[in-house]
Every structure is written in structure tokens, then in C-alpha cells.
Amino acid sequence: MSTKTLSNGKTVDIYPLTQAQRFMYFVCNNFGKNSPVLNIGSGYYWKDDFRTDLLREALYEAMDRCDTIRLRFTIEVIDDHPQLFQYLADESEIEVEEFDFSDIPEEESFAIMKGWTKEIIDMIEKPINTVRIIHLPDGKNGMYLKFHHLAFDGYAAKVFIADVMGIYLSKKCGMPYPKPMKSYLEAMQEEFAYLDSEDRKRDRAYWMKTFSSDSEPIFNDYLLDNRLDKQRIENNNPDQRYITLFEGEHPESATLHYDMSAEDTEDILKLCADNGLSVPCVLMLGLRTALSAFNHDQSDVSIKFMINRRGTLLQKKSGGNRWHFYTLRTDISRDRTFREALSIVEDVQSSVFKHCNFDTLEMYHIKHMAMKTGDITHTYDSMTFSYHAPIPVPYESEAIRATTEGIWYNNDFSAQNLYLTVKHRANDNGLEFIFEYRTHENPKADLEVLYPKMITAIKEGVKNPDITIGEILDIIKL
């Protein structure tokens, strides 16, 4: 920590970026420069006897309780290199504006808010977050939030929404006032303390051992026109296991959205509850089985796995961006049952969880060195997966909850070629599957084949956990 006098004359304590922020900033600068990849736009709307005055009060109180609403960035030149530092301003200086879109079709207001989301944030020594009250047609009202990804991740944004709703409902109907939020500075200091800790040495040793003792992974494509097969022919190398892929160009993206019914979702949740299993493991098993079907029933599948690292209450309630990304590699033979395969995925997930404070960039460096490719364009993980566990958002009644909508305004730019986010709908807890893909690859038709195979694999396994992976692969074969 050091101090700096800002351009407005104020002197503040400044801190370097955390590992998670450095990774996000690195990815943005290398794979999505000059595009709004770091903008997160979301909306939360519901129908009630809406009180604009109370929501405004609740938003201001929630902003006072959330440190990273006040997070800002500044540039310091260190050894002739400009570097980004962060600090907390005394006040958020954010005015909650109100927009009435109740007289225009929702498609139009959606387009307007998507446009807001795509406006690049001027992030140097200025407020970087936006909070607005929105009125929509048919008595729907709520809030639009635009957060900077170095200050919030999806988890932090949802915790903020839950806090706003808790405060709003305490004012409107006397529900209990939400418990306090936690200190961002304390959470950040915990991140910095890790860098010199025995835990970091242990985690580094784990990743070194994992990559040096593992065999070389293999790329599993989500494109039916398989790039590994093509590059093996082009390079006259039938044993090639990675593909050469530079993600630095063409960040323009689109999304493909699927909904799973609340009933099917409940079946998955019940299987997990009855067997002590985690929901993302079921989803990842479905995804890896579909990828296997796309790649000659390959048993060895690696995906990139996002971990939000929200364990303790300090980590859960302090805002910020804590996302780290790791390879999750599983080798599951055809004779394994769905139940056994789940245990394999769960064990790998637990191992990765235990060592997930380690820097993502350094982990990938170790991996590339161990694989002797030494080149970050040599890729084994074709796509990224993330699961957003439900965070309870208070609601006034079941009837009002049923009208609630949580909306993600995609910024139409992505730093990764394919990113599958799975989250729960606000109104009925059913699962939403959002494939964010870069449009230059044009994988939409392939994903329209991949998704049903993933869901069939999950449903067959949930229906009969003793079915083998081979039997599932026979059902979903191309």
C-alpha cells in the first residue's frame, strides 16, 4: 500500500490489483482491447405496489454498505511502466437516476439498456458503476445496474441486489433488515497475504505436481468441423493433442439462451441433495459427456472452469472480483456409471477448489511449460464453464416472486471464444443456460446440437444414476 495525490487534489491509499483483477485486466487487454468486455449490465424487475421512494432509499443505503461501489482506479508509473492501482473513494458520488420506459415496448427498453451496457467506462479516477431505477410496462419496476468487472463479479452483483431487496422490503413491509456487509479492504489484504504464505507454496507445488505427472491432455472441440482433426492433417502430426488458437482478435460476441424447466431442475437438485453431490458437477458431467460425443467418444476431457472463490462471509459479502479460472480435466471410461462418474468429477473439483487461490496466469504458465508447448496459443481447453449458485434474494410473497425477472444485458463482446454460464432464474429457480460465443467462429449451429446432447446426458443420468457413460454416449451419438 502507498499513497497518491489524485488529480482532484485528494490524497488516498492506493493498492495494486489482486491476482483475480490482474487476470481479468490481462484478458481484457489481450483478448478484447477497446471493447466493453469489462462491463456487466444487469436488471432486476418485479411487479408489486411499487414504491419508487423506498427503492431509491434502499439503493442509496445499499451503496453506503457496499465498499466496491466506491472502488476507483488510478495509474502510477513504476519503473517507466504505467500500472493500474485501486483505491476507495470517500463517497460513491453516484446519483440514482430514474427512467420511465412504461410507455414503450420492452424490446425497445431492452435495446436502450443494452446500449448503456456497451458504453465503455472511463475508469481512471472516476466513479465506474451505474445504478438506475427503471419502470417497465405492465406494472413492472426495478433497477438497472452497470458494474465494472474489476469492482464486481456476477456473485458480488447478486449479493448487492439481495441487499437492496432486503433493505427495500424492510422499509416497505417490515421484513428484517439485512445483516451487515463486509470490508473490501480486509478481503483484499487477505488476498495479498496469500502471496507470501505457506498456502501459496503448497498450491504451487500441487499445480507443478499435477501438470508434471499428468499425461498430455487433449483438445475436445465444440465445433462439429473438428479443429484438432484438421490441424493434425495440416501439420502431418496424427498425435497432436492441442490446437493452435489465438483468442486475441474478433471479440464480437452473441448469446444463445436455453431454459430448463423448474421441474427438471428440481430433479437435478434432488439427486444432488440425496447423494451429497454438487450441482455444477452434474452439469459439468453432462457437458463433458456431450463434448466426448463430439470428439469420437474421447474419455479424456478438459474444460476451463470458473471459480468465484466465495467461501467465508468476508469473501462472500465484500464485493470485488474474485474469479479465478482453472483447467478441470477428467478421464472417464465408458464402463463407469453416471454415479461413479459424478464422484470422479466431484473429487477433481474438490482438489481444484483446495488450490484455487493460486494465480490463474501462473497456473497456465506452469501448464504450458509442463506440456513443453511453451506457447499460450496452444490450447487444450476448448470452452469455459461457470455455474452461479442461487443466492437467496428476499421477496415479499410467492405471487410477487413469480413476477420477478433477473436480466443480463450482454455487452456483445467476449474475451473468450465460448463461455457457458449456468444460473438459476429469479422467479422459479429453474436453470438458464447462456452460451456466449464469439461470432467470427459462428458456432451457433454446433451449439444447437451440443446443448440437447448435454441435457439428454444429464436427464438420462438423473433418471438412472446406474446407467453407464457408454450407454449415455450411445444415446447421444452424432
Binding site: 451429497g276 454438487s278 458437477c281 467461501g311 462471509l313 473439483q349 474438490s350 477448489f353
Partner: protein, 74 residues
């Protein structure tokens, strides 16, 4: 034993804010609301706290607070 119970419940409360009081009979997932990630981190914390090196897979056999107490009292 009581110290172990109190210590484990105290550690669980670093992770969650349940409305109901946590007891030995509380289920880690349903009553305490611990996620898979919480459970892995909690288990790591407890190993350090009790100076034990217990295989992470053991956590899969722990459904309740008392299962954790038994594991760390052995």
C-alpha cells in the same frame, strides 16, 4: 469434545449466517447451507486448526456437524 463441537460450529459460522442455531445434528448442506466450495475450504481450515492431515475425500462422508466432530476428534 464440547470444545471441539464449539470450535467446529464457530468455524462454520465464518462461512454462513443461518437463521437457526447450529447444533451437532445440523446437516452441513441443508441446515447450515454450506456449498461444496465452503465445505472444501472449511475442511482445510479444520485440518490446519486441529493439525491433522486428513484426505479431502473424507469430507464426502460428512453429512452433519457431528460427522465432522467425530473425524476431528479421532
Amino acid at each position: 469434545m464440547n470444545n471441539t463441537v464449539d470450535l467446529i460450529i464457530g468455524k462454520i459460522l465464518d462461512y454462513v449466517e443461518p437463521d437457526e442455531e447450529i447444533t451437532e445434528n445440523s446437516s452441513l448442506k441443508i441446515d447450515c447451507g454450506l456449498t461444496s466450495f465452503d465445505t472444501v475450504c472449511l475442511f482445510d481450515d479444520l485440518c490446519k486448526e486441529f493439525g491433522k492431515d486428513i484426505d479431502q475425500v473424507e469430507v464426502r462422508n460428512c453429512e452433519t456437524v457431528s460427522d465432522l466432530v467425530k473425524l476431528f476428534s479421532e
